[in-house]
């Protein structure tokens, strides 16, 4: 089936988020696959925001700029987006915005809301009209309204739904999907859920777009789960709180965006030398500095690879979709505790805010491996040493306060096995080796990137993180044109897994990195680690996620 693409536009504060949510919910529950993404400005009221929802009976992994239906809550939406309509595309809006003509569903939406007695119900009226237009189940629509609205506004919205439903006519004849149960979830929620499944009981953070919704999601679960969420006075406090909690034996996590991450880097080093498990999520947005707060970019990779003065072992995981976001978060927590290192999860605004329908997470696949040591409290001869030298560099870890007579001492200075400051060269060398050789262990567990495409590609697209869906759709489009294309999309990114990379760069004639940054950060890492030089770059740094068609156009134009 064709993928239908909706665009819902208006200004901040008009209730677009609720409208989009309702539409997504009914599509999801009807059994469609969908992918929706948000484009919004850094303001609370006014401006121009929009959400695009693409749905189909087949999986959808990317947004697209070819719109089938615009739902316009204001004139600006029509002006800005009309040109993106495909042939046969249409606009649904109030009669004051556009009057009835071919391709315009001009409806008395505002009048309807007046009838209800609350202008804010406009969006529910539009929802009702949408349900009718696409021949969706009215009862289902009602359930959704009942879920979303509470109190006195519920009745109003129920009424609005009916009015909207009745003012439209059924128009689109869609293939009906099989009834399957899927989750509708975005990247940040998936990370939050991963934290809960992974046993995080303390989340300390400072608000920063686009990471804040991880915090608010977890905060909303404080009543029904073990988690405690504490808002820090600043990001330095956030990461240090989390380290303190981790030291004391719980699974703890923090999240932020680039600017906040910048403030955390000294403490990242502390986690490395103190050998304290730490998971930090960086939901990237365009920098530098404040940059474009509500938009997307992948420009913190180079920074994060070596962030903090001095040298520590670390692992960097980029998440590619909500499923990845969930499972990788649970894995990151295990890795951090097993190797007693910082693990950084890289996401971005696109993924953070994009709702997708996916298979429900399988909790039986999730394990919580604490890697805690036991220590016999009756063995009074033995003294616990936090930094005991061991073959693989990982010292047994116990929880402070839990073994009578034994203490756990951690130190940000260079130290001996007991954790106390040293000055001598010999101990320093042994401790550096102890810590840094964890990188070798990590190299053994890194997961190879996903390869997608023809077996022996002429053209290899290399990317990482949230561009996965965009690249894969481009691969399909190009291969359907008869090209031989493959995509290699990294999730685990440091230490860099090199097997598939070397294999496919060996085969392909043209290797192209596709990245949402200016300097081609993955390409630089690849060259540094493997010597492989990438031939061409598709780099986008305007705050908007790349479209599959942009990749296709580039390849058509540049690869002959």
């Amino acid at each position: 089936m064709k993928k239908y693409n909706l665009l819902i536009g208006g200004s901040a504060g008009q209730g677009m988020d609720t409208l989009a949510h309702n539409i997504e919910k009914i599509l999801q529950r009807t059994g469609y696959h969908l992918f929706s993404n948000k484009d919004y400005e850094s303001r609370v009221r006014g401006g121009h925001n929009f959400t695009q929802i693409r749905f189909s009976i087949e999986p959808v992994g990317s947004h697209s700029n070819e719109i089938d239906l615009i739902i316009a809550l204001n004139d600006e939406t029509v002006e800005v987006h009309r040109e993106k309509l495909v042939e046969g595309g249409a606009i649904l809006c109030d009669e004051k915005i556009l009057s009835l003509e071919e391709g315009v569903f001009s409806l008395p939406i505002v009048a309807g809301a007046k009838e209800v007695g609350d202008v804010r119900t406009q969006t529910t009226i539009a929802f009702g009209a949408f349900v009718k237009l696409f021949n969706l189940d009215f009862e289902l629509a009602k359930t959704i309204i009942n879920d979303v609205f509470k109190g006195e506004i519920l009745a109003k919205n129920q009424k609005a739904l009916e009015i909207g439903y009745n003012m439209a006519v059924s128009h689109y004849e869609l293939e009906k999907p099989e009834a399957e149960t899927r989750m509708l979830i975005n990247g940040n929620q998936a990370i939050g859920l991963g934290a809960l499944a992974g046993g995080v009981t303390f989340y300390g953070a400072y608000p920063m777009t686009p990471s804040t919704s991880i915090m608010t999601y977890l905060a909303s679960k404080q009543g029904e789960s073990d988690i405690v969420v504490e808002q820090a006075e600043d990001e330095i406090a956030a990461i240090n709180m989390v380290l303190g909690a981790s030291y004391a034996g719980v699974r703890a996590m923090t999240g932020t965006s680039g600017g906040g991450f910048s403030l955390m880097v000294e403490t990242l080093g502390l986690s490395g030398i103190a050998e304290l498990p730490l998971v930090v999520v960086n939901v990237q947005r365009p920098g530098p500095a404040t940059g474009l707060p509500t938009r997307t970019e992948q420009s913190d990779l180079s920074f994060i690879l070596t962030a903090s003065h001095g040298e520590i072992p670390r692992m960097v995981l980029a998440v590619r979709n909500p499923e990845d976001a969930f499972y990788q978060t649970t894995r990151a927590l295990n890795i951090a505790e097993e190797y007693q290192i910082p693990v950084i999860i890289l996401s971005d605004q696109y993924l953070a805010d994009a709702n997708q329908t996916i298979e429900p997470f399988d909790l039986s696949k999730v394990t919580i491996d604490r890697h805690l040591a036991t220590f016999d409290p009756n063995d009074t001869e033995r003294i616990y040493n936090r930094y005991e030298f061991t073959e693989n560099g990982i010292s047994p870890r116990i929880i402070p306060g839990k073994v009578k007579g034994q203490v756990v001492f951690i130190d940000s200075d260079e130290h001996d096995e007991s954790g106390h400051i040293i000055e001598d060269a010999e101990t320093r060398i042994k401790m550096m080796d102890k810590r840094m050789k964890k990188l070798n262990l990590l190299k053994e567990i890194v997961i190879e990137p996903e390869y997608y495409g023809v077996e022996t590609p002429d053209i290899l697209l290399v990317g990482w993180g949230s561009t996965q869906g965009n690249i894969k759709e481009a691969v399909d489009l190009l291969n359907s044109e008869g090209k031989k294309v493959g995509g290699l999309i990294f999730g685990d990114i440091y230490p860099l897994p090199t097997k598939l990379l070397e294999q496919y760069t060996g085969i392909a004639k043209t290797v192209i990195n596709v990245e949402q940054n200016y300097t081609g950060q993955l390409a630089k890492l690849i060259r540094q680690e493997t010597g492989v030089t990438i031939d061409k770059s598709i780099l986008k740094f305007d705050g908007r996620q790349i479209l599959p068609m942009e990749i296709v156009d580039f390849v058509r134009r540049e690869v002959l």
Partner: protein, 291 residues
């Protein structure tokens, strides 16, 4: 009461310290061991956090659980550990620079939280470890290698700062006066809520103004009838410091208020977080919400 019990303090002995002979830190370290021993606490029950500085080396020299973190960052790990395991008795031992300079924001906000910790500021009114620059508590006029014409900033008044910020136990004592020091340390540890103790601590190398003798001449006890539950009275007394009347010592302020943990029912009434069973299946109900 302040009799040293050698059997009890020995359990706290750690590596040899690297402080200068005569440094006020020696007295604080000894008093802290004594106080902990007298309170019947054992090393594994206690967590001491600190930042970086001479004072901040204290956890190195006392055998308890210890988190010797980054300069200025003694408090956030204390908060994190406190939330994770409310059973740990938490002390913070850090310098005036660590606490109020680099770490000022954390002092402010953790006092607002009224977390249940005892915070001992080794207040030598100077940056000791970095060789004698002004700290926030250095007096105006004090000449240093950076403040070459003398300090010009208003002295940060630890007592007033703590009272206004929300600490619920605020006291000053002197590292050279063990009889005063040990009971105050004990009271601070026993207090439920944020206890800030400003311990005047001579730095015999880099602070030639505030010497043992200077403190002996300028320190004086709060009057017997001082009411530590009266915030305004406590502040008036605190300001005597910068009015040049000398350095008042004693318990300025002490009130009972719900602590941070008291106000989070789950933490107050439940097991410490660290003792909860972790199980992925606990997330099952949340998955349902996305269907």
């Amino acid at each position: 009461m302040t009799n040293l019990n050698p059997i009890n303090t020995k359990q706290f002995d750690s590596v040899k310290n690297a402080w200068c002979p005569g440094c006020g830190n020696h007295g604080i370290l000894a008093a802290l061991k004594q106080a902990l021993a007298e309170l019947g606490l054992e090393p594994h029950e206690i967590l001491i956090t600190s930042g970086i500085g001479q004072a901040a080396k204290t956890p190195q020299y006392i055998r308890t659980n210890g988190f010797n973190g980054l300069h200025g960052r003694a408090l956030p790990p204390a908060l994190g550990a406190h939330i994770a395991n409310k059973d740990l008795k938490i002390c913070i031992t850090s310098g005036d620079g660590d606490t109020f300079g680099e770490g000022g924001n954390h002092a402010l906000h953790n006092m607002r939280r009224n977390i249940d910790v005892a915070h001992f500021v080794h207040d030598n009114q100077i940056y000791g470890l970095t060789k004698g620059q002004a700290s926030p508590t250095t007096f105006p006029g004090h000449v240093t290698s950076v403040q070459t014409e003398g300090v010009i900033n208003q002295t940060l008044n630890p007592i007033a700062f703590a009272i206004v910020s929300g600490a619920t136990f605020v006291a000053r004592t002197f590292s050279g006066d063990r009889e005063h020091l040990v009971p105050i340390i004990k009271a601070a540890i026993q207090h439920k809520g944020y206890a800030l103790v400003d311990i005047m601590q001579p730095c015999v190398i880099f602070n030639k103004e505030n010497t043992y003798q200077w403190y002996r001449e300028n320190l004086y006890q709060l009057p017997e009838d001082h009411d530590p539950t009266n915030k305004i009275e406590a502040l008036s007394r605190a300001f005597e410091y910068e009015e040049g009347k000398g350095v008042p010592m004693g318990i300025f302020y002490q009130v009972e208020k719900p602590t941070f943990i008291d106000q989070i029912p789950k933490l107050r009434d439940g097991k410490p977080l660290v003792d909860l069973e972790l199980n992925p299946m606990k997330a099952e109900k949340f998955i349902k919400e996305f269907l």
